[in-house]
């Protein structure tokens, strides 16, 4: 229906002689993006006391949760809530509107069935908001409040995933980028940590949970880094905003009688890896995957449900590649064809019946004509007969009359002769 222009694409990239200048495009993009500012929504999920708020504060080097804005763990919650805090942070000329979504009460109850439901509802509602905004006729500012990443905190039991962990991740891996973290990793020795990680990854694979995957790059260096990160999954983190002096260096860490667990020390925990990955290298990718994969999933499911209302299921398969409007167009066309067919059929039946009737009429007309003709002929024959009879009669009469006249004449003559004779006395 829509004809794309016929264009010849020269497949070999042309090398240009002389500088044209579109190599400056990336700078233009850079400039515009800085002007626009960035947004990111991060969700943290895990039982109370796993250090979620501390980790957020450590990641963003700020007191998101402070005395004035206490973190959710300070509050007593009965049921699972979903709460968001929005902050605006600036660095190096770049503005970031960061939304942290917390889930206080998660996993804290005795019966935790369906405690993931409020989380799912929240994510879906953000998708729905975006979908509605995107579908408006008058589209204006569309803030992106969709959840771009979900940090899932696993308690450092050292054994494996809890049923709740598995259940949650299974339910959410299709809706959001899930990054599992081992919380409070400073309670595990490196060996324990290794085993724990292996166990967790094994269970994740067994249950076919799709956690966030780093995209492949063509760059060799980047690939190496990525492989290294992948080996460390899930990342074991420690959070702290308290600055301690260690060997003359000021570091952030947790002071124990037996030493200081440094947050940013790669040998102590994977915090740096997480921060680098989450913020410095893959933030944009997290947003892109949310947009291109999770949101599109949601959208296509939502729209397929709408358009398949009342349409029989066997026809659905081929229709997902069309927009609902295009589908309606096609249905309209089908209907038009159907109507045309119906029309021609009815037309045919109509014509046939008319023909039949006309034929009948004609036949009866012919029959009547014929009879009429016959009667006419009959009449004519009778006329002729009559004529003939009359003629004969007239002939006969004329003959007789002329005969009579002759006789009369004879008689007259003879009587005349007799008279003559009488006069002559010739009477014997």
């Amino acid at each position: 229906m829509i004809e794309r222009p016929d264009s010849a694409v020269s497949s070999v990239a042309r090398n240009l002689e002389g500088y044209v200048g579109f190599a400056n495009l990336p700078n233009q993009v850079y400039r515009k993006s800085v002007k626009r500012g960035f947004e990111f929504t991060l969700m943290v999920v895990g039982e109370s006391g796993l250090g979620k708020s501390t980790l957020i504060n450590s990641l963003f080097l700020t007191d998101l949760y402070s005395k004035d804005y206490p973190g959710p763990s300070q509050r007593i919650k009965k049921t699972v809530q979903v709460e968001q805090s929005k902050v605006l942070i600036k660095e190096g000329g770049v503005q970031l509107t960061l939304t942290i979504v917390d889930t206080p009460g998660f996993g804290d109850a005795v019966d935790n069935s369906n405690c993931w439901q409020p989380v799912i509802n929240y994510i879906d509602s953000k998708f729905e908001d975006f979908l509605n905004a995107e579908s408006r006729v008058n589209r204006r500012q569309m803030p992106d409040n969709r959840v771009h990443c979900c940090l899932y905190f696993i308690a450092p039991s050292g054994h494996g995933l809890k049923p709740l962990d598995i259940e949650f991740m299974k339910r959410l891996h299709d809706k959001v980028n899930v990054i599992p973290l081992i919380a409070k990793a400073d309670t595990l020795t490196p060996e324990e940590c290794q085993l724990f990680k292996k166990q967790i990854m094994k269970e994740i694979q067994e249950h076919k949970i799709k956690i966030y995957e780093f995209p492949d790059t063509e760059d060799d260096e980047d690939s190496k880094l990525i492989r290294k990160i992948k080996e460390k999954m899930p990342l074991a983190v420690v959070g702290s905003n308290v600055v301690i002096e260690v060997n003359g260096r000021k570091v952030r860490g947790r002071q124990y009688p037996w030493g200081v667990a440094e947050v940013e020390n790669g040998e102590h925990c994977d915090f740096t890896v997480l921060r680098n990955m989450l913020i410095r290298t893959h933030m944009q990718d997290l947003k892109d995957v949310t947009n291109n994969v999770h949101y599109e999933n949601y959208r296509s499911k939502k729209l397929a449900a709408v358009t398949c209302n009342g349409v029989d299921a066997t026809k659905n398969k081929g229709q997902l590649t069309k927009s609902p409007l295009a589908q309606m167009e096609e249905e309209r066309r089908e209907h038009v064809m159907k109507m045309k067919k119906m029309e021609t059929e009815m037309e045919q039946v109509f014509e046939m019946k008319v023909k039949e009737k006309k034929q009948k009429l004609k036949d009866s007309e012919a029959e009547l004509e014929r009879r009429h003709e016959q009667m006419k002929k009959n009449l004519e024959a009778q006329y002729k007969e009559l004529e003939e009879k009359r003629r004969q009669f007239e002939e006969e009469r004329n003959n007789w009359e002329s005969q009579q006249r002759i006789l009369e004449q004879q008689k007259l003559d003879s009587s005349k002769t007799m008279e003559k004779n009488k006069k002559k006395g010739k009477i014997f």
Partner: protein, 432 residues
């Protein structure tokens, strides 16, 4: 992907409402976000689509070759085209690590016809077709916008003939039709035919004509401080007077692109000679991204809005409650089904009507036929009666005649007898 991410965060609010600012106590690292974004888009590649509108022979193809420093395919067109056609060619260009998919669309035969009333139509149609394709993709249930090859026109270079006087009415009409659909950048073609003083007057005339006719041409954006100054200066130089050439001439010890005349050499890249450098600067080096953005957020949105409104979509129902997408689609669908059913009903009714009418017609005909034959029958009866009468008359005559005859014969016989008896008597007397 590029477009989608842009659209999503595009008009994102810069200072989020309800967001409080918090200070950072160290380097977090999200200042790499623009770089992350840029890297992604470089990996993905860029695309740009230029439409060149102008009469045949104004040097459109040459200018494209000059702008992009390469020889694009194509033969010079003749003047005998029956209508305006659009030919588009896509090229993959690369400069350092930036890949650009460039599509150049040329209007073929523009301004060559005697009646040019419809010239702009094929151009508008072409632009709309590209919008429509994008809209269809955007509305699909399963869509792949991030890998969609965007063919929407990002910039329209309108070539003005270097008459030195004013715009032609064809130009005004065409630009007026295009200004709400595409970014128009008017340029004076083959401007080496105009002298400097004439050029200044020409530019002023053109600009004032555009203003007085309400034609909206593309303004280089002045909202970003880094480029505001240069953009606003350049805005004052519009329309750009350009000269294109792919031939090189030696000036001093360099080979430069130029056009050589007996009286001198016009150097394409000499800013004193023409505005080519300005055009290149503005179009490619500074504002290419803005042109793409404007196309997407302004021209495309306008098209989309009009199209959806045409199809009966609204944002809120009469009670000012916002529609959710589902409700809208469902409502649309029900309406649509209702319409279809109604059409079907109408057709059936029409047939029923026709059948009735035809039946009545045929019955009429039948009645007439019977009447006709009744008449004939009556005539026939009359004739028959006449015949009967005649027969009777004849019979009467016949009888009358018979009687007469019989009477006469009797008389004759009597006479004869009398005569013969008289003769006999006479004979008898004679014999005595």
């Amino acid at each position: 992907m590029q477009e989608r991410t842009m659209a999503a965060t595009e008009i994102a609010r810069q200072a989020g409402e309800g967001a409080r600012g918090v200070p950072l106590s160290g380097h977090v690292g999200f200042d790499s976000m623009p770089d992350q974004l840029v890297n992604k888009s470089v990996n993905h590649g860029f695309c740009f689509n230029i439409l060149c509108v102008g009469e045949t022979g104004l040097g459109k193809s040459t200018l494209m070759d000059t702008l992009f420093n390469t020889k694009f395919e194509g033969e010079p067109t003749q003047h005998n085209q029956p209508g305006v056609q659009l030919k588009s060619n896509t090229y993959e260009l690369q400069e350092s690590n930036v890949r650009l998919k460039l599509t150049v669309v040329n209007t073929v035969g523009f301004g060559d016809q005697i009646n040019k009333e419809d010239s702009y139509k094929s151009i508008v149609e072409f632009i709309d077709t590209q919008f429509e394709a994008y809209l269809q993709e955007e509305l699909k249930i399963k869509r792949t916008l991030h890998s969609y090859h965007d063919t929407r026109i990002h910039a329209c270079l309108y070539f003005i003939a270097p008459t030195g006087h004013s715009l032609k009415s064809l130009d005004l009409v065409t630009m007026k039709k295009l200004d709400s659909k595409v970014n128009i950048i008017p340029i004076i073609a083959k401007s080496d035919a105009i002298s400097k003083s004439e050029l200044a007057k020409f530019k002023i005339k053109i600009t004032s004509e555009l203003v007085s006719n309400g034609v909206q041409i593309y303004q280089f954006p002045t909202d970003d401080e880094t480029v505001a100054e240069i953009n606003s200066t350049m805005n004052g130089h519009l329309p750009f007077a350009v000269v294109g050439s792919t031939e090189e001439v030696k000036i001093g010890n360099k080979m430069v692109r130029a056009r050589q005349y007996p009286w001198g050499t016009v150097q394409v890249e000499n800013e004193n000679h023409c505005d080519f450098v300005k055009l290149r600067e503005m179009l490619i080096r500074v504002n290419m991204e803005d042109l793409r953005e404007q196309t997407h957020t302004r021209h495309y949105e306008l098209y989309r809005r009009c199209k959806l409104e045409e199809m009966g979509f609204k944002d809120t129902d009469p009670d000012s409650k916002p529609f959710s997408l589902q409700e809208t689609y469902e409502a649309k669908r029900n309406e649509f089904m209702g319409e279809l059913q109604k059409k079907e009903e109408e057709m059936r009714q029409m047939f029923v009507q026709r059948v009735k009418e035809k039946e009545a017609e045929l019955k009429e005909a039948e009645k007439e036929l019977h009447e006709k034959f009744d008449r004939l029958k009556k005539l026939h009866q009359d004739e028959k009666k006449k015949l009967e009468d005649k027969k009777k008359a004849l019979d009467d005559e016949l009888n009358g005649f018979k009687q007469k005859k019989t009477a006469a014969e009797l008389l004759q016989a009597q006479n004869q007898q009398a005569g013969s008896s008289a003769t006999l008597k006479k004979d008898k007397e004679r014999k005595k």
